[in-house]
Symmetry: C2
Subunit: 197 residues, 2 copies
DNA sequence: GAAATTTCCGAACATCATGTTCCGGATCGT
DNA sequence: ACGATCCGGAACATGATGTTCGGAAATTTC
């Protein structure tokens, strides 16, 4: 019981239909009927498996999370095995991963569509970080906040890359990301919004 | 011509109705009819002034932008007049401003509702920064990216504050914000996601 | 391989929000 | 006061969502 081949076929068909559509248009503009047409699935069948489009999205991204986690583990263990290599940086690997799937740009791009998808991906990234980052002892920078900050910085760099500087290479994007996270912004570039006492 | 009292009454009633509703529930869940009921405005009248709910939101936030700009100018000029004061930091003033209007929490909080509102507010903040920040000369950190990063960091701190640590004071939140923007995260807190060569 | 389940399809239906149209009456500027 | 403009309200078209149900088809089980 539990593993009727029809249900896994139905569900994966819907997962893939949604992800395929997300590459072509904004999530919010995708209609349930389009998903059904793309997946060749009946309307009532859809609602027998998922309660809504958002539900389908969430479960689709659970697959993506597993994918990310294994990718992260792979690059980290590769890093520990042979130090001094160049492909051992998870953050850079992530940028390169995105570069290979540049067709999901419209899913992350601003506007009406992006919000839910971005939030869901933020959650995935945050969970990955939560599993791999050490505990910090800095009282003024709680771990939760650091994680959120890294996620949001990653997203900021990523969107800047996709939206305003598409010609940037993954390694340049990663360099900017690391600089921002590790060293911040030069004080003279913040004035007078942030005054350094 | 141009300033018929009826139209300004209608529009401000709609602006305030929307902002009032936003304090109570998620933007996406607000229906046009609710806005009409709250503002006591007829349906056809609404569509005579705005093309959609999003249109109304955008124009509502233009008012907020003007408010922000003047507030920023005020604190900056106050800063230049009497140095060594304590209320001369625009970023801290912004956190304090938010603290006073804590009832918009649900508008910024995650989930389905927040996306569009957050994006719109991001735009406002980015525009304010664009007007006041100097040009940077750092080639690896373009101005656009710095602005986006500051906006997203502000949002990250703000949401962390509202969602996970509501008891934090504005000055603590601002301290964390400044630390993140100016100095970044200690390297040992990033490993092994970001490796420092 | 046949019986018994479980799932799928498809069409019809109810519901709800959006946006448009129209006109009598109210309100405004001058 | 008068002409121009705006407002209200109801009616309508549209389009997406989610539900229901009975017969057909696939799958598991034995």
């Amino acid at each position: 019981m539990g593993i009727d081949r029809r249900v896994v076929r139905t569900r994966t068909a819907l997962y893939e239909a949604l992800l395929s559509l997300i590459r072509r248009k904004h999530y919010e503009l995708i209609t349930v009927e389009e998903i059904l047409a793309e997946a060749n699935i009946g309307r009532s069948t859809f609602y027998a498996h998922f309660t809504s489009k958002d539900d389908l999205l969430k479960r689709s991204l659970e697959r993506l999370r597993d994918l990310l986690v294994t990718a992260k583990d792979r690059t980290i263990s590769a890093a520990l095995r042979q130090e001094g290599e160049q492909a051992w940086d998870p953050s850079r690997a992530l940028f390169e991963h995105v570069a290979e799937h540049a067709d999901i740009r419209s899913a992350l791009t601003g506007g009406r569509g992006g919000g839910i998808v971005r939030d869901a991906i933020d959650d995935v990234l945050a969970e990955v970080l939560r599993q791999s980052l050490p505990a910090t002892m800095d009282a003024t920078l709680p771990r939760d906040l650091v994680i959120r900050h890294m996620v949001s910085t990653f997203n900021a760099v990523l969107r800047w890359w996709l939206e305003v500087r598409p010609e940037t290479t993954p390694r340049e994007a990663d360099a900017a990301f690391r600089k921002l996270v590790l060293h911040g912004v030069p004080p003279e570039a913040c004035r007078p919004f942030i005054m350094t006492a």
